[in-house]
């Protein structure tokens, strides 16, 4: 079980959190202008690095707020 640093509540057990996947995936600025393959990229493609990964977490059993952190996907060390 990971200990995840909630920016508001401090370190808490992983089981209090909900995972949100890659951070910083913005809704397309001009949705009408997107091709099918650009839509596919936005809907289905996410980074899947072996190593540091910037990702979203929600402290769903605590303050219920979303935040981002960088975690190493091999060691599970929270880097920032």
């Amino acid at each position: 079980m990971m200990l995840i640093p909630c920016p508001w509540c401090g370190p808490r057990d992983e089981s209090e959190f909900h995972y949100g996947g890659q951070a910083g995936v913005a809704y397309p600025a001009e949705p009408d202008a997107l091709s099918d393959s650009e839509w596919a990229k936005y809907l289905f493609f996410r980074e899947n690095p072996k190593g540091p990964f910037r990702e979203r977490w929600s402290h769903s059993a605590g303050c219920r707020r979303w935040f981002s952190l960088v975690r190493d996907t091999v060691t599970n060390e929270v880097l920032r």
Partner: protein, 405 residues
């Protein structure tokens, strides 16, 4: 010992040095890679083939899965490739001349709600239309097949019935890998262990070789079969894939007398359980939610799957956990695999099997070898192209596949 040391048994395959180049390089020496190499040689006469494995043969997910084999998937596309695979399983011991302990003890997929019942009956009909054996059983019939399931109506999620596929079962995963490895080796395939691919050589949009920890090796075609690490390898060719790698955990109990005659899967309570030939109860459930490459997951996931198992099998309460472990599974958005061509000429993709790759081993080996040999997909893997994420022709097995992911 009076006679001195016992001779080491004969090796099942050579352990060759890599050659300068091959017609086909398969990246990943797991079940899929080994089966692909075997069928390339057997079905297509392509024997100048190397399988490159960064660790030891079949030490990844092939050594970590729960060995369940079934073909009772909802959608026609899935039924096609998994049933092809099951038919190959049924003749595999003879084909490879090696004991793989394939045991067709059947699988029960339990229904715990009215919606489960409707979905399950629908799946039974879909399976039958595809020529796959499937039955709907009421709770009393479930207990006839598997007397240790608690079918009491008083539990939180009572068993309302189950689908049953009698031809489903389990096999001994290591033996399957060894059987394919030995047979591929005998046909001339080089199995090269301790050889990690560190880069892909691409020239004019065509793959020409691979860089490895044991030097650069030329290749006419390169077939990726790297499961949870596919994103990492594909990235070396500049290819992005709709994959997320997650830990998937499983566990075994201490050895018990034979108590569990079949395979039981429950989506709602969420555990799947069989009993290995040796006697351990083998259990698995869902992935850890976060992306991870560490081949381990969190213990609360294990606790949850054991709680689920106890709900269904109260008498497991006195069985001890012997060991738990994790593998890395690559999951696609529609929970179906990607098997086919890539944007780089001569570079082929086999990935995204998520939690269901073991059962597909013979089937995907057969179809992927065809794809690599002909440069175009076999009809059974044509629906599983990468393009489906652009066209929208998804094969949505989330939930439909009789197991949650």
């Amino acid at each position: 010992m009076a006679g001195g040391l016992v001779d080491h048994p004969d090796r099942l395959w050579r352990n060759p040095e890599p050659a300068a180049a091959y017609d086909v390089i398969v990246v990943g020496g797991g079940g899929h890679g080994l089966a692909t190499a075997y069928y390339l040689a057997k079905n297509h006469g392509i024997t100048n083939v190397a399988v490159l494995e960064k660790g030891w043969l079949a030490g990844g997910n092939m050594a970590r899965n729960t060995t369940i084999i079934r073909s009772n998937y909802l959608w026609d596309e899935s039924a096609g490739i998994y049933e092809h695979s099951l038919k190959l399983w049924e003749g595999l011991e003879q084909e490879l001349d090696y004991p793989i302990l394939f045991s067709q003890r059947g699988v029960l997929n339990l229904a715990h709600s009215l919606q489960d019942v409707r979905d399950s009956v629908r799946r039974v009909h879909a399976n039958r239309l595809n020529g796959i054996d499937a039955e709907w059983l009421d709770p009393a019939q479930v207990r006839e097949i598997c007397p240790i399931i608690n079918i009491s109506p008083d539990v939180r999620y009572p068993v309302h019935g189950a689908t049953y596929q009698p031809r489903a079962g389990i096999a001994k995963h290591d033996h399957v890998a060894w059987a394919y490895a030995r047979a591929a080796d005998a046909l001339g395939v080089d199995l090269i262990q301790d050889c990690e691919v560190t880069g892909l050589q691409i020239s004019g949009g065509r793959v020409t070789g691979v860089h490895t920890t044991r030097g650069t090796i030329g290749a006419g075609r390169v077939a990726l079969s790297a499961a949870g690490h596919t994103s990492v390898v594909a990235r070396m060719a500049g290819i992005d894939l709709p994959l997320q790698s997650h830990p998937l955990q499983a566990l075994v109990s201490e050895l018990l007398e034979p108590v569990h005659p079949t395979v039981v899967m429950s989506n709602a309570v969420h555990v799947y359980v069989s009993q290995a030939h040796k006697g351990e109860l083998v259990m698995g459930a869902g992935i850890d939610t976060w992306n991870g490459y560490g081949q381990r997951g969190a213990f609360h996931i294990i606790e949850r799957q054991m709680a689920a198992a106890l709900e269904l099998f109260p008498f497991f309460a006195r069985a001890h956990v012997l060991r738990t472990w994790g593998g890395i599974v690559d999951v696609t958005p529609d929970a179906s695999p990607i098997v086919g061509l890539s944007e780089v000429d001569g570079l082929f993709l086999n990935c995204g099997w998520g939690t269901g790759g073991f059962k597909a081993t013979p089937g995907v080996g057969w179809c992927y070898a065809h794809t690599v040999a002909h440069g175009e997909p076999h009809p059974l893997n044509a629906p599983f192209s990468l393009e489906r994420f652009v066209t929208g022709a998804l094969v949505d097995e989330h939930g439909a596949a009789a197991v949650a992911h």
